[in-house]
């Protein structure tokens, strides 16, 4: 029983990370109809930047966390402005390829700045555990879950309550109409990229204490894309739910199924889902209108 609970918690925390990356992915798609396959690499960059501030510059953890978010926001916006904006109007496939290329470049950049050795982020809660009735929970896992819940709540408020958030929603539903009603569509697109990069960076910082930071950690982005689709592509809650589902399944598969199978659980779930319910858990996209 306690083992099941522990697996559940560690699965949920992993799922939260998938969910956050998926959230960034979906956010960009909804606002700009671009598929960002470099989302995992944005997460990796976030983790490395945090490592620079917290470990190398010896900043307090929370301050480092906050500065990293700001850096990621700026980086995301700069990416949109410099690399993605020239691609507006190009076929979706071209954008997708571009972001794949971007991911490769980011990995090489990271290796050349921070080296090939895996790094550990110094967090104040490293190795700490919470014991509830003889069941041991790592704080690193619990904090991931808590922080994800907090971030999602914040985002929800942002999209519901703030002017900017509502403008973003409008732009995501109909760019032209939003533009005509005075929404600065281009600036909104930049900002969405910024926010999405910041969310991914947060995911990276939350994941860092659990796994290690290296240039290949962005590969879990692929699982996050699977999560986004399982959840129902285009749905923000779906991204999180899909992430949780895949995180928990993977954790249990790693423990109980054939060796190595855990690594492909996400993909098996995805393919099964595409056969059974291709629109995902929360359906939200439809066919093109003629």
């Amino acid at each position: 029983m306690s083992e099941l609970l522990q697996l559940l918690v560690s699965g949920l925390s992993k799922g939260c990370v998938f969910g956050l990356i998926a959230l960034g992915f979906v956010l960009i798609y909804k606002a700009t109809e671009m598929l960002n396959f470099a989302q995992g690499e944005l997460m990796m960059m976030g983790a490395f930047v945090a490592f620079t501030f917290v470990n190398l510059a010896a900043m307090p953890f929370l301050a480092g966390f906050a500065v990293t978010l700001v850096v990621a926001l700026a980086f995301g916006m700069a990416l949109e402005r410099g690399v993605l904006r020239p691609m507006i109007g190009e076929p979706p496939f071209a954008v997708l390829m571009l972001t794949i290329g971007l991911g490769f470049v980011l990995r090489t950049v990271a290796v050349n700045i921070w080296g090939t050795d895996p790094r550990t982020l110094d967090v104040p809660y490293a190795g700490e555990v919470l014991v509830v009735r003889e069941v041991v929970f790592g704080y690193d896992n619990l904090i991931v879950i808590g922080a994800t819940a907090f971030l999602c709540g914040g985002l929800w408020l942002f999209f519901r309550r703030s002017r900017l958030g509502v403008a973003m929603q409008a732009a995501s539903q109909n760019q032209l109409a939003a533009y005509y009603s005075g929404v600065p569509v281009k600036r909104v697109a930049s900002l969405v990229w910024g926010i999405s990069a910041a969310i991914s960076a947060a995911a990276g910082m939350l994941l860092a204490p659990i796994s290690l930071i290296d240039q290949n950690m962005g590969f879990i982005g692929i699982k996050a894309f699977a999560a986004a689709i399982v959840g129902g592509f285009g749905s923000l809650p779906g991204a999180i739910v899909g992430g949780l589902l895949i995180g928990v399944s993977e954790e249990f598969a790693l423990r109980y199924l054939w060796p190595g199978f855990g690594e492909v659980t996400a993909f098996v779930i995805l393919l099964v889902m595409l056969f059974v319910r291709p629109q995902g858990i929360f359906a939200s996209l439809q066919k093109k209108k003629v």
């Binding site: 109007g89 050349n112 199978f261 993909f267």
Partner: protein, 359 residues
């Protein structure tokens, strides 16, 4: 500028439109046949590798460039072709039959994926093919004696009339012959209803459907064909690799295949050849670049290869989305129309987002 007077409808579907083309392609054929006797064995081997890339490239181009379906998992078909071929040769199946069966196995896998992908477009397809590739990679790593697991399996190199398959000249002509057949088949498809259906699906699915194109069948056929050619390339590549290991068919290979079609020029078979030359010789170019960097005191650039692939991809997509072949067409147009050439002819016109969604 050349004007071709068309007097018969059959002229428009002929392989060569005019004698100029016949001359240049004939010259190219002769050059390719003579080439191995003028090059060192190393370059003969490299050229064979370019042909193999081009075979796979034709497959990827049919799917991505002509049918508009993205696959991020084509390395899986390469692996299926290679491992099937290796296993068959080990059981003593003759080379041509083994090649055929390996192609068939990849085609079957492709049809399966294509069929699964029927209801998917864009992101779904991209992620699903990636997922498929990961699952195949898992099966290869845990395939026991059949695949040799992570330690890999040695390739049987059969003899033909006393010449080993991997004898550089024999292998060169084998790959060249297979490539020529593949290109011939692709050209034929593209000038007949099947190819037109591919293009229709790429440009507008609703319209294709209203013109009587069976979407499901067309996509499945495109996937199967594409996988077949990629599998065939994989089987040939297996001889070249010699010892098959899972890393030889990783995600990077899928990306290299996409790089090939993008750099060459989407939607053109000429582009496949340009792209294959590019991808085939890129490692050499990078090795040279590495030497140059070392001369400047930068002795180690980890991940240079991967980064270069990525950077080239990004730069091409932003500055020359039509690839090398597109650039070639523009240069030719410039000379053809010399004083009258207008830059605007090839200018991008769309600057707004054309949505594909309904809310």
């Amino acid at each position: 500028m050349r004007f071709v007077l068309t007097t018969r409808y059959a002229q428009d579907v002929a392989l060569f439109r005019h004698n100029g083309q016949r001359f240049w392609y004939g010259l190219l054929a002769i050059a390719l046949l003579v080439a191995p006797w003028l090059m060192t064995n190393f370059y003969v081997g490299e050229a064979a590798m370019v042909f193999i890339w081009a075979i796979a490239g034709v497959g990827v181009m049919l799917l991505v460039g002509y049918t508009g379906l993205v696959s991020l998992g084509h390395a899986a078909f390469l692996a299926i072709g290679a491992y099937t071929h290796a296993a068959l040769l080990r059981y003593g199946v003759p080379l041509p039959l083994a090649l055929l069966l390996a192609t068939g196995a990849a085609a079957a896998a492709g049809a399966l994926v294509g069929y699964a992908a029927l209801r998917m477009t864009g992101v779904y397809l991209a992620v699903a093919t990636l997922a498929f590739e990961r699952i195949v990679a898992y099966l290869v790593e845990h395939g026991g004696a059949l695949t040799g697991g992570v330690r890999g399996v040695a390739m049987t190199q059969p003899q033909w009339f006393g010449i080993s398959v991997i004898h550089s000249h024999f292998f060169y002509y084998l790959c060249l012959g297979v490539l020529a057949l593949c290109i011939f088949g692709a050209v034929n498809l593209l000038r007949s209803p099947t190819g037109r259906a591919f293009v229709a699906v790429r440009d507008s699915e609703v319209c294709a459907e209203s013109m009587g194109v069976h979407l499901a069948r067309t996509k499945t056929v495109a996937f199967a064909l594409s996988a077949a050619l990629t599998g065939l390339a994989g089987a040939l590549m297996a001889h070249k690799i010699g010892h098959l290991v899972p890393e030889a068919f990783g995600v990077n290979v899928s990306i290299q295949l996409l790089l090939l079609v993008v750099v060459g020029g989407l939607g053109s078979l000429h582009g496949v050849v340009f792209g294959a030359i590019f991808v085939g010789f890129l490692p050499q170019i990078l090795a040279l670049a590495r030497d140059q960097l070392a001369a400047f005191g930068v002795d180690r650039v980890p991940g240079l290869e991967v980064g270069a692939y990525g950077a080239i991809l990004v730069l091409f997509l932003i500055f020359e989305p039509l690839g090398v072949y597109g650039r070639w067409l523009k240069i030719r147009a410039w000379f053809d129309e010399f004083p009258l050439y207008r830059k605007a002819t090839y200018k991008k016109q769309k600057s707004y987002l054309r949505t594909e969604r309904v809310h």
